[in-house]
Symmetry: C2
């Protein structure tokens, strides 16, 4: 169900503002965290910007490896997203504790999270000063995929899939809104 998305259209996977999972891998360790503060930054080559607190283990892995991935989770994963957003990979092996299924996409530099509806594999664009000052990171998208049941032909089609496949939009404290109906 994971089909490639043309890179110049990769921004459309997060343009509607979903909360995402950020993953990174280095030296045999992987970690995944939840992040609502992420946005597209450029079309072609596609870039993204995201906020990663200094306390996060994922940030450490990202800085060590120079790579990270964004997975776009869906409503059926709300409980998992909250768990991944409230526990640190520093204190526990979150992936094992929460049974996070990682997809080993051969062309991706970082692990992708299974059960999600879209994925962006990214390479860090070093911006050491704003990383330090604002916890703000820039990445260039090097690979993009989506679940063809909900994203096809460059557009989301949530209306034809089960409600559990809709993207999640975090407000605060584990309270989410699912994405709704199309307006043209």
């Amino acid at each position: 169900m994971r089909t490639p998305v043309d890179l110049p259209k990769a921004y459309r996977l997060i343009n509607h503002g979903p909360t995402v999972l950020v993953s990174a891998r280095h030296g045999g360790r992987s970690n995944v965290m939840a992040a609502a503060w992420v946005m597209a930054l450029d079309f072609d080559p596609p870039k993204v910007a995201l906020v990663l607190d200094k306390a996060t283990y994922t940030r450490e892995l990202l800085l060590a490896s120079g790579h990270f991935a964004i997975s776009v989770p869906c409503a059926a994963q709300a409980r998992l997203v909250t768990a991944l957003g409230t526990h640190s990979g520093r204190d526990a092996d979150k992936l094992s504790d929460f049974q996070v299924p990682l997809l080993d996409e051969p062309t991706a530099a970082s692990p992708l999270v299974g059960g999600c509806v879209a994925w962006l594999d990214c390479e860090r664009v070093p911006e050491p000063e704003v990383e330090q000052r604002h916890d703000l990171f820039v990445g260039r998208v090097t690979g993009a995929w989506a679940d063809a049941r909900v994203f096809d032909g460059g557009h989301w089609h949530f209306e034809r899939a089960p409600a559990g496949l809709r993207t999640l939009h975090h407000v605060a404290g584990g309270h989410y809104l699912a994405i709704g109906e199309a307006i043209d």
Copy 2:
């Protein structure tokens, strides 16, 4: 209907990823543009990050004044948002042409757009290098308001209001998704 929002909770007005309108005023000229690439950057003091292309007139006004405002439009304004995202204030007086109602909030440094459901008044935090390199701007939120029909007690309550008051989430080319149902 415009009621103040505590600044440490201001991030919740955009945490779920709505497409927004960015406005700025300088030397008697005001302008408003649509922007999907915006996110929260910090809780307290609240900050935001957003992308403003070099070609935009709003960017010029923002740089000249040091201030900007974010208005969060709703489904009833989809046509207006598309118009404000596809025409430049350089070529025409968009505010007059599209009859954009500006609210003169006395405590805000920039004009707010009427008919929206939330507003953030912001002061530019100068980051000249990333502004130039990535078109990325940082702002500190100095005032926040929401329409109490849909945002109250620090949370969105779209379920109790007309569908036209739901936030808009742009995918591409004037195609939007409205925000949907709550998931706890």
